[in-house]
């Protein structure tokens, strides 16, 4: 299976690069923790209020944290010419891109799922609600990586790309935010989270099918 081999090679390479320079990843995770800590300080420590804003607050912090890592997705490879070699490789670029997106999710998305319980306790969420929150983050963060990759590829080599990528990507993150935070909220309200979770899963499937392809097209445009 040469396709699988290419996917795993891209994934392993990106993970290895991250392991060699851990601070960059940890910065994004600390950002998540710090933003979620600032919110109660700004809004007030009433447990009722915190419980109410917790899902939305943590999801917004998750959006911003994954956004931080997007810049790194292609920029370094673009700067040292590795990306051009990837485009020239006989394996399909979309498979390599899928590997890179998976690596981004493993590094920037998945840790948030495991940080969520700790932050959830700060917001006085019940353990059931925390479970749902973790589940939405598990389904939703890969979606963020997939959509974000399109933005990262489009802004490659553009002026002020770090700011630009947030302008392009954040409006596209809205459905994820709504369904992710909505699942937890409707669970707390006693309505059940299955509807929101199903929609989130549907979006994930849709994005998994099209985002690597769109990212590949964007990379080819950027490297013209």
């Amino acid at each position: 299976m040469p396709l699988m081999a290419a996917y795993i090679a891209a994934l392993q390479r990106d993970l290895l690069l991250v392991m060699r320079r851990k601070t960059e990843v940890l910065t994004a995770l600390f950002f998540f923790v710090i933003v979620t800590t600032l919110l109660p300080l700004g809004i007030g420590p009433e447990p009722d209020l915190l419980r109410k804003i917790a899902p939305g607050a943590m999801w917004i912090a998750a959006l911003l944290a994954t956004l931080l890592g997007l810049q790194r997705l292609f920029a370094a490879d673009h700067a040292d010419g590795t990306l051009e070699q990837m485009v020239l490789s006989p394996e399909p670029l979309s498979v390599i891109v899928a590997g890179k997106i998976t690596a981004h999710w493993l590094v920037c998305g998945l840790p948030l799922v495991f940080l969520a319980p700790v932050i959830g306790l700060q917001f006085d969420l019940s353990s059931d609600a925390i479970g749902i929150l973790m589940l939405t983050l598990l389904v939703g963060t890969p979606l963020l990586s997939l959509i974000g990759a399109i933005g990262a590829a489009l802004t490659l080599g553009a002026r002020g790309s770090a700011l630009l990528v947030s302008l392009l990507v954040l409006p596209l993150y809205i459905p994820t935010l709504i369904f992710g935070a909505g699942a937890v909220e409707s669970y707390i309200a006693g309505l059940g989270a299955t509807g929101h979770l199903s929609l989130l899963g549907a979006l994930l499937i849709l994005a998994a099918a099209f985002a690597p392809w769109a990212t590949t097209a964007a990379l080819r445009i950027s490297l013209e």
Binding site: I150, L154, T155, G157, A158, R159, G160, S161, L164, L167, L168, L170, P171, L172, I174, P175, I178, F179, G182, E185, S186, L199, L203, F210, A214, A217, A218, I221, S222, E224
Partner: protein, 247 residues
């Protein structure tokens, strides 16, 4: 067989656009005058909303146009990416500022209408929110286009972005709609309006056509400017009568 691609080259499109611009300006002025006359003098005063409702003759056509222009941009983007025509990207980037203008106008007039009717400048209604997000999408397109120096690359990157955007607009609309039903705060229904007098509908339709003609005229003017700017060194530009006069 019609040669569809004849006007896809800037050198043959430039004079065509020059001939079309006055026609569409005339149409915009005439239709706009008729539409505003109907809106302000003929359409009856609304029983519930009084005279304040008359802003819909600007507001509704502006909202329609803002959505429609995004679809047209996506169409040109698809053309540009499939046929690799230079003109498509020029048209897309020429349309974007007008689309953003209409989105902004729609939000602004909506706020002016909402204050007396609902008692609030802004409510988190699904339509308002998705219109705001559409405005953000226009800004994103223009920012991306401006950030890439090479115009051809900017066109292609912008084309891909507007295609991604047009796929997302319905998803965003429905997600905001469901989010809105979950939150159901101060309920304001836009759809539960009393049946509209036919003169009001005509006024809105004519205004929409006027905005349409205005959009075409402005987009063609902008496209012509973009053409001259990008192709300043090419032969056909040097032989243009209006360029020769200045030189």
């Amino acid at each position: 067989m019609i040669n569809w691609f004849k006007y896809s080259s800037p050198s043959s499109f430039y004079p065509l656009a020059g001939r079309l611009i006055p026609v569409f300006w005339m149409l915009a002025a005439i239709l706009g005058a008729i539409g505003l006359y109907i809106g302000f003098f003929i359409a009856p005063t609304d029983a519930q909303q009084g005279e304040g409702y008359r802003i819909i003759f600007i507001h509704v056509p502006a909202s329609w146009m803002s959505m429609f222009i995004y679809c047209v941009m996506a169409f040109w983007s698809l053309m540009g990416l499939t046929f690799n025509t230079r003109l498509s990207g020029m048209m897309t980037s020429a349309l974007a500022p007008t689309g953003a203008l209409f989105a902004f106008l729609s939000l602004w007039t909506g706020a002016l209408w909402g204050k007396p009717m609902w008692g609030a400048w802004w409510v988190w209604d699904a339509r308002l929110t998705s219109e705001l997000i559409l405005f953000f999408l226009y800004l994103g397109y223009m920012a991306l286009h401006a950030a890439i120096d090479d115009p051809r690359r900017a066109d292609r990157a912008g084309a891909l972005l507007s295609l991604v955007g047009v796929v997302n607009v319905p998803i965003i609309y429905f997600s905001v709609k469901w989010w809105n039903t979950l939150h159901q705060g101060a309920s304001v229904s836009l759809t539960r309006s009393p049946s509209m007098a036919s003169t009001m509908l005509w006024g809105m339709l004519i205004m929409a056509l006027a905005f349409w003609a205005y959009t075409i005229a402005v987009a063609l003017m902008r496209a012509r400017t973009i053409m001259l700017e990008r192709e300043a060194t090419s032969e056909w530009v040097k032989h243009l009568p209006d360029v020769k006069e200045i030189a």
